[in-house]
Structure formats: C-alpha cells, structure tokens
C-alpha cells in the first residue's frame, strides 16, 4: 500500500497539536526544513521538539510560536552561532516562554537509543560534575550496582513522530540514507511513527538491492513525502550542497521581532510549498548548490 502523500497531508495527519517531534536527527545535514515550514504554515501549537542540534530549524519553529518545550543538546545557528528566536523566547518570553530540557549530544542519543530498545534508561559516565542535570531533572546521578562508581542515568525518550529527510525511498517508506547519520536510526526506532521526506521516490527493487543502507523498518513509516530540495539550506549528500549564506542571511534578518516576521512571511507564510520556496530562491542560487561531480560507490554483491 502506498504511503505517498503531500507534505500538507502528512503534517495535518501525523503532527497534531501537542506532538513530540524529532527533527534534525542527522545533525547538520538532511534537516527536514520543508516539513518544519509546513508545521509553521499550519500553525501547529504546543510542540515538543526533540533533537541533538537542530541548526536553525528549531529557532524558526520557536519564533513562529509552535513550540512549548525543547529537549535538545544545542539550539542555534551552526553558521552564525546564536539563534535570535531561541534567545528571545528564553530571555523575554517572546513569543512565549519555553521549557528547555538540556542534554548533551551523547545523552540525547542515549535517551533515544533507550527509547528504541524499550529500555527504561542507559547509564553513562558523561556529564558528571556538570550543571546539566540541574536543568534536566530527568537525568539522575546514581552509583553503578556493579562497580559502585558514579554514573548518570539517562531515561528513555519515545517521541510521537520522527521526521527524517533521506535521499530516496520507495512508496512504502523503505528508505535509503547515507552520510553521517547522527541519531536518525535511534530516533526512528524510539518514535511511535516515522515520516519519510525523500529527494526521490524510487521503485522497491532499488531499495531492496541494498538493504544495509535502509534507515529504518518501513512498517513504522506512516507517510512518504516526495520533496526535492526539502532539506535546503542543509545539504543532502549526492544531491546538493549546504547554502551557507542562507544561514547568515537568516541570522541577520531575524535580529529583531519585526525582521523575523518579515522573514517568516517571505519564506514560509507567503510560500505555498517547497516548489514555491525553491522558485523564490531562484534558479541561479539553486544551481550554485548542485554537485560539482558525482562520486558513486562501488556496487556490492548480495549474490548467493
């Protein structure tokens, strides 16, 4: 049964108000910006955002007033540093107050890994002596029942939905992703369901020709959205490079509340969908991000 649908339908059906959502699981690449923008257009409220670092997608969702709580290791703008919307929310309650639950990259990984394993928690030696457990009461210091040494217990997270941008998928959500994966697999396994956003939708036989490259079991996938360019300005290996300047432009534009509204109107509210967004971006800029050369992997033999 095909799970193909539009981004509009996928978000309307599977990201209701109050959901907990993982995005940006691969870290700086494969960030599902198109999905985030659809969430903003639909004005979904009271979300809990979960991710390691989110680059500027979390900042945008916060600035648009969609977010109640952030469970993350880092929120900002990787190119420019601080995220203005995140700062305004935390420092001035604009557009409203946020609950911030601090993690490190390792502990958010372990929380999702535990969630996917169905384990209550995973212990770590990280974060001992830091103030992070003070701003994340879920992290608990304890002693190992085996060696007696100090450890931090990281309780499992089981988000409602993980939104993963990938290179290609079949219409059932059997999806290939490559490059650094960050916590993509952990997020997919921990979450109740998965939305796959794919650069390309390909026939099933292409996916099963290389099962080691599959990112998650397709029976957990609830929607497949074909969305070329859907990760821009983040990069997609083998498809397009990172648009560094776009991050700096956003940083400058969102310095003030008014500037943020203007940016949101231009790139999100007054843009119907990702195709419209890419049109606004312009052919020339989009061209400049395309591959300079292909670097194909050698085929592998699954013969028997």
């Amino acid at each position: 049964m095909s799970k193909i649908m539009t981004m509009c339908d996928a978000v309307a059906r599977f990201v209701p108000q109050g959901s907990s959502v993982v995005m940006g699981a691969a870290l700086e690449s494969l960030i599902p910006f198109a999905a985030g923008h659809e969430i903003i257009r639909r004005q979904v409220r009271d979300l809990t955002l979960i991710g390691p670092i989110s680059d500027m997608l979390f900042d945008q969702l916060i600035g648009a007033g969609c977010v109640r709580k952030v469970i993350a290791a880092w929120v900002g703008n990787v190119s420019a540093g601080l995220g203005h919307n995140y700062r305004r929310a935390c420092e001035q309650g604009i557009p409203h107050r946020l609950d911030v639950i601090d993690h490190s990259n390792f502990t958010i990984s372990l929380a999702l890994l535990a969630g996917g394993l169905g384990a209550p928690f995973i212990p770590t030696h990280s974060l001992l002596g830091t103030d992070i457990p003070g701003t994340n009461p879920a992290l608990r210091q304890s002693l190992s029942p085996f060696g007696g040494e100090k450890i931090v217990l990281v309780p499992a997270l089981q988000p409602d939905v993980a939104i993963l941008h990938v290179q290609r998928s079949d219409e059932n959500g059997n999806a290939h992703a490559w490059g650094n994966l960050g916590v993509s697999e952990e997020a997919a396994l921990a979450s109740e369901r998965i939305i796959i956003v794919a650069e390309e939708v390909v026939p099933h036989h292409i996916i099963v020709s290389d099962p080691n490259r599959v990112i998650a079991p397709s029976f957990k996938v609830c929607a497949v959205v074909r969305e070329p360019g859907g990760a821009h300005p983040s990069p997609v290996q083998g498809h397009y490079n990172r648009d560094h300047e776009y991050y700096h432009d956003y940083h400058r534009a969102t310095r003030t509340v008014e500037g943020n509204v203007e940016w949101m109107n231009r790139w999100v509210a007054d843009t119907k969908d990702r195709a419209g967004y890419l049109q606004k971006l312009g052919k020339e800029r989009w061209q400049s991000l395309q591959l300079k050369e292909h670097r194909y992997a050698a085929p592998v033999d699954y013969g028997y």
Binding site: L27, I53, F106, I132, N180, G182
Partner: protein, 262 residues
C-alpha cells in the same frame, strides 16, 4: 568579517591564524582527535600536513577521517567531509569511542571560561531567567567529560574569562585539585586554552590555569588585564611561536577566502 592583523616581523597574520597554528601543535602524531567545529577543523588539516600525518579525526555527527576534507568545511556535516571518509555512521558510535577511552584529544569552543577551565555555553545569569541564553552543550560536555584531554579555543576578554562560570556545561577541573575524581570523572581535563591573546596551560595537580605563552603583540600585563581573575604565570612563560610561512601557506590554501581565519 575583517579583524585586526598582527604585524609580525617576517609575515603578517591574523589572530585566528596563530590560534589555528597553536591548536595544530597540540595534536600529536597518531592521536585520535575529536575535531570539533570552526578553527579546529583547519587545525586538524594543518597538523595532518605538518607533524601529525597519522592523526585520525572523529566527528560526532558520525564520521571518521584519516585525511582532511578536500575543501574548507563550514560544518562537520558538509558533503566534502563525507566523501572519502573512513566511516560514516551513527553518533552513538562516535560517543561510544569517546566513553570507551579511545579519544586522545578533543577540541571545544567556549563562551565563558573560569580559572579552573570549566566552560559555560548554556546560560549567562540564572538558568531560570537567563540574561543570555547560549546554544547549549552540543557534544562539548561529552568531550570535556570523556576525552583523555581537551583543548579550548575562544576569544579572550574580561567578560569571557571569569573567576567562576555561571553554569558548568563542560567540566574542567571544577574547583581545583581532585575535583574530577571526586565527581566521578575517570580521567581527562583541559590541557590548553588557546585564546585570541595567549595560550593557557594547566598544572594538573592543582587544576588552575597558568599563562603559558602570550601571542606576539601581547604581554603578560596585557593578558592579565583582560582576564577576570588573578592569572598565574608559568615559570617559563614566553611568546607564542608565530605561524611559520609553511603553516600560513597551508592555512590559506585551506581557507582561501579567510572565512574562519580572517
């Protein structure tokens, strides 16, 4: 963003370039290095081509490399960093290597640092109502907790180098001697702080930063004037070695537009 240039005797270079050169010198041949963001990415490329051809770079997003990326990186997830990598994988595998004790050296950046090398990249002021909300740990707290040693790269002024950080994101030597052991950290700690003005080292036995070298154009007095505590001076304090022409050539070949280094 144009920055003031340091006028050297033989060659002019920027504060960022001397920081990259100093950071590269912290990498020993054959070491496993958690490479971090921005300047350390260039330091890794420099060290590989100078004195540490056997160094291996780990990137927390899930990458291992034994060669520098063929192009300047803006983030660790840029496509040139993935092409030709030794391994592209999951973050837990990178962090697992770190926790397993495999990582000799990690690089992190800092917004606020104190005399015991603790770093704050989370909250200025009270976390409940922060004066400034900084982005948070990312992987920095893990690197500071779990690498065999770590090096900090940061801008140097009185507001950033403070007596006591408001919040410990990444643990240095806590409140001094024996602290890491007391809180349960098994090893590690900062080995150098490379700033825009100087290099600080640590006396591990008492865990406090000491001025190891000041960059050309700086002095013991100018560094102390811009440090928020009564900074101790190493007995053998000296001027930081300028980047050599060869080092500068490599840095500028790698960052021809000066995106990170000018």
């Amino acid at each position: 963003m144009p920055r003031p240039w340091i006028m050297g005797t033989e060659m002019d270079y920027t504060p960022q370039e001397i920081m990259v050169a100093a950071a590269a010198r912290e990498i020993r041949d054959g070491e496993i290095v958690f490479t971090g963001m921005r300047l350390p990415l260039i330091a890794f490329a420099l060290a590989k081509q100078m004195h540490a051809p056997g160094a291996i770079g780990l990137f927390e997003a899930g990458l291992v490399r034994d060669t520098p990326a063929p192009e300047l990186l803006y983030t660790m997830g840029d496509p040139p960093n993935i092409a030709g990598a030794l391994w592209a994988t999951r973050m837990v595998n990178m962090m697992g290597l770190l926790q397993r004790g495999a990582v000799d050296l990690g690089f992190i950046g800092g917004a606020e640092l104190d005399r015991f090398g603790n770093l704050n990249t989370s909250y200025l002021g009270n976390p409940k109502s922060p004066k400034t909300k900084l982005p948070g740990s990312g992987g920095a707290a893990d690197i500071a907790s779990l690498s065999r040693r770590f090096v900090v790269i940061m801008a140097h002024d009185k507001r950033r180098l403070v007596e006591r950080v408001d919040y410990i994101t990444s643990p240095g030597f806590g409140d001094g001697q024996g602290w890491r052991e007391r809180v349960g950290l098994r090893y590690g700690g900062p080995s150098a702080i490379i700033t825009t003005r100087c290099v600080l080292g640590f006396e591990p036995s008492w865990g406090e930063a000491v001025l190891r070298s000041y960059h050309p154009g700086q002095s013991v007095a100018s560094v102390r004037a811009e440090t928020g505590w009564d900074l101790r001076i190493a007995k053998d304090v000296h001027e930081t070695g300028s980047p050599t022409p060869e080092e500068l050539t490599i840095i500028r070949r790698y960052d021809p537009q000066g995106f990170w280094t000018r």
